[in-house]
């Protein structure tokens, strides 16, 4: 009896130990990145030391200054100016489309729904070049319209699919009982369904925020002047800017760049984890 319990305790200790070791290995790069922000190149090169010699915010202050023309205040401002409207527009347009697919019967619905699902597998790379030609013909290059407009037109099926799944779980009787009192379909959406959809909308919004924030290829293609640069573009440029890269500075900015995602994640982790678990998605 006692031996068995002892065995169980040993087992448990071993489990937690393994969990801690894996967790530390996974998070070590991020932890290392944070401390590298305080180091000089000499401290970084050839050293296994984690902690810096001193905690001076020198690298952060220098890094933030950017290339001398624009500071990172500008790049962060641009990034949010791009990411936040994209996120909100995606939510509005995807909600409308999901509502149509889930709550109405109309001609061609099955085909359109199948098309919407098939688009999940259509790679961005196929559309990139014609979209570029189109946008450049309309004078959209070096503006944020190539990001805003697709968001406003629900171009990412993933979010429609996610919201359809969620709406499917809300009983239709709710809408009908509201309708007896004679309210229109738009009021049903806004007053009855939207409040219930909050968790799903939150998850969808977080993922769109994260993906747009991390996206690099589209920003590289559609934005080409320094004043419009986002953090991703500026960071990539900073590697080429100087003959000798000041890694501490680059790490400081990189750390600041990933910080908003981490803060958002910890503030809303429930929605992240539930969003992935319920909808199933790419990394």
């Amino acid at each position: 009896m006692l031996a068995k319990r002892k065995n169980k305790t040993v087992n448990r200790v071993f489990t937690y130990l393994l969990i801690a070791v894996i967790g530390l290995a996974l998070l070590y790069p991020i932890i290392w990145m944070f401390f590298a922000s305080f180091k000089t190149n000499e401290e970084i090169y050839g050293s296994t030391r984690l902690l810096p010699a001193g905690f001076s915010f020198h690298n952060f202050v220098d890094g933030w200054k950017g290339n001398g023309v624009y500071t990172y205040a500008r790049y962060f401002f641009n990034t949010f100016k791009l990411v936040i409207p994209v996120t909100l527009l995606t939510l509005v347009s995807s909600t409308l489309a999901a509502y149509a697919f889930e709550r109405f019967r109309f001609r061609g619905k099955n085909i359109l729904f199948a098309v919407m699902i098939a688009l999940l597998m259509l790679p961005n790379s196929v559309l990139m070049i014609p979209r570029y030609s189109m946008y450049s013909g309309w004078g959209w290059i070096n503006t944020y319209l190539p990001f805003y407009v697709p968001a406003a037109l629900a171009s990412n099926s993933f979010f429609i699919y996610m919201l359809v799944q969620f709406l499917h779980g809300i009983p239709g009787e709710l809408d009908e009982s509201a309708c007896i009192d004679g309210c229109g379909s738009f009021r049903i959406l806004v007053q009855i369904l939207l409040p219930l959809m909050k968790p799903a909308l939150f998850s969808a919004g977080l993922f769109q925020f994260m993906w747009t924030y991390n996206d690099y290829l589209n920003q590289l293609i559609f934005i080409n002047s320094g004043e419009k640069y986002t953090v991703s573009l500026a960071l990539r440029m900073s590697l080429d800017a100087e003959a000798i890269v000041n890694w501490g500075k680059v790490m400081a900015i990189s750390f600041i760049a990933v910080l908003p995602l981490m803060i958002l994640f910890f503030a809303a982790q429930k929605y992240f984890v539930e969003g992935i678990a319920t909808s199933g998605l790419k990394g």
Binding site: N124, D175, R236
Partner: protein, 306 residues
């Protein structure tokens, strides 16, 4: 798909009338479908049969681009190989790790939410430039990873300089982000009915038998879905190869996504680049079809039972 509302008598007319408004809700998506999906889709197919350049005109050249890709362009052969390798290295490893750790965590432990959260963190950063830069620094010749190897009395490796290691090192960045797949698997594992395991216990099945006959079939739909999405993503990889190695050394990390970018947006050979994009697309279609074909053999859906 679900429908709602009873359709009898005058209710039917009311219902129909009400349904017409659906097109209004669908309008933004429909406009986007035509303007931002169908039109570019067929344009890019058309471009791929032309010599379209930003600087010049556009002439129909039939299959020339494809013939050049497959018979003459050594870069393309290399990129095809590199992309397939990247996919083969990352997807199975990432999913196996996600599944193994999900299985390990799928037990009665305190603080599981915190653990799940912490393991998910690497996935937050996806293809972000900041993390690609971090990887570049850590795996430098005199970076922290080599310093650790030295401390362990192991030989140092030129992770970025040696064409035998560069691609694998880039893959490590992708595999590090297994957390999102893990969270999905964990959710699927939680949904496996306990009775199935109890029944297996009565049959005297061992752990491995239980895994093969109970766990795997039950979570196979999720594995299937993740496999497809991860493969599609891997075939299009761009950022890490571009930011860290710029395709080098010796083009050992010159993935198709990068070749497409270079041809299209550095050399402005839009027609040629379009044909590359269609090869990527064809690969995705083939892999997806193969997976779907094979799915009847190994993906188990609840409904089939009945």
């Amino acid at each position: 798909m679900k429908t709602n509302g009873k359709k009898t008598g005058s209710g039917r007319i009311a219902y129909r009338k009400r349904d017409r408004v659906a097109y209004l809700y669908l309008l933004p998506w429909l406009i986007g479908l035509v303007m931002l999906q169908f039109f570019p889709f067929f344009s890019s197919l058309y471009y791929s049969f032309t010599d379209y350049k930003v600087t010049g005109g556009m002439n129909w050249i039939g299959l020339d681009n494809y013939i050049r890709l497959f018979t003459k362009d050594a870069d393309f052969h290399n990129s095809l190989k590199v992309t397939v390798l990247y996919t083969l290295y990352t997807v199975p490893l990432k999913l196996t790790m996600a599944l193994a750790i999900a299985m390990f965590l799928n037990r009665d432990i305190k603080g599981i939410n915190l653990i799940r959260t912490l393991y998910y963190i690497p996935s937050l950063f996806g293809g972000s430039v900041a993390i690609a830069v971090l990887w570049k620094l850590m795996f430098l010749d005199n970076g922290v990873i080599n310093a650790m190897l030295t401390a362990l009395h192991l030989p140092n490796i030129q992770f970025w300089g040696d064409h035998r290691y560069a691609l694998k090192t880039i893959c490590s960045l992708e595999i590090w982000q297994f957390g999102s797949s893990m969270v999905m698997f964990l959710a699927a594992l939680k949904n496996v009915p306990k009775e199935l395991y109890e029944a297996a216990d009565i049959d005297g099945s061992g752990k491995i038998a239980k895994f093969i006959h109970v766990t795997l079939p039950q979570i196979s739909p999720i594995i299937f879905f993740t496999l497809i999405m991860q493969t599609i993503q891997a075939l299009q990889n761009f950022t890490s190869a571009f930011v860290i190695t710029n395709g080098g050394p010796l083009k050992s990390t010159y993935v198709l996504g990068m070749m497409l970018y270079k041809e299209g947006f550095a050399y402005f050979n839009m027609g040629y680049a379009s044909s590359i994009s269609w090869v990527i697309f064809a690969m995705i279609v083939v892999v997806t079809l193969l997976l779907f074909r094979s799915s009847s053999a190994w993906v188990f859906y609840e409904d089939e039972e009945k």
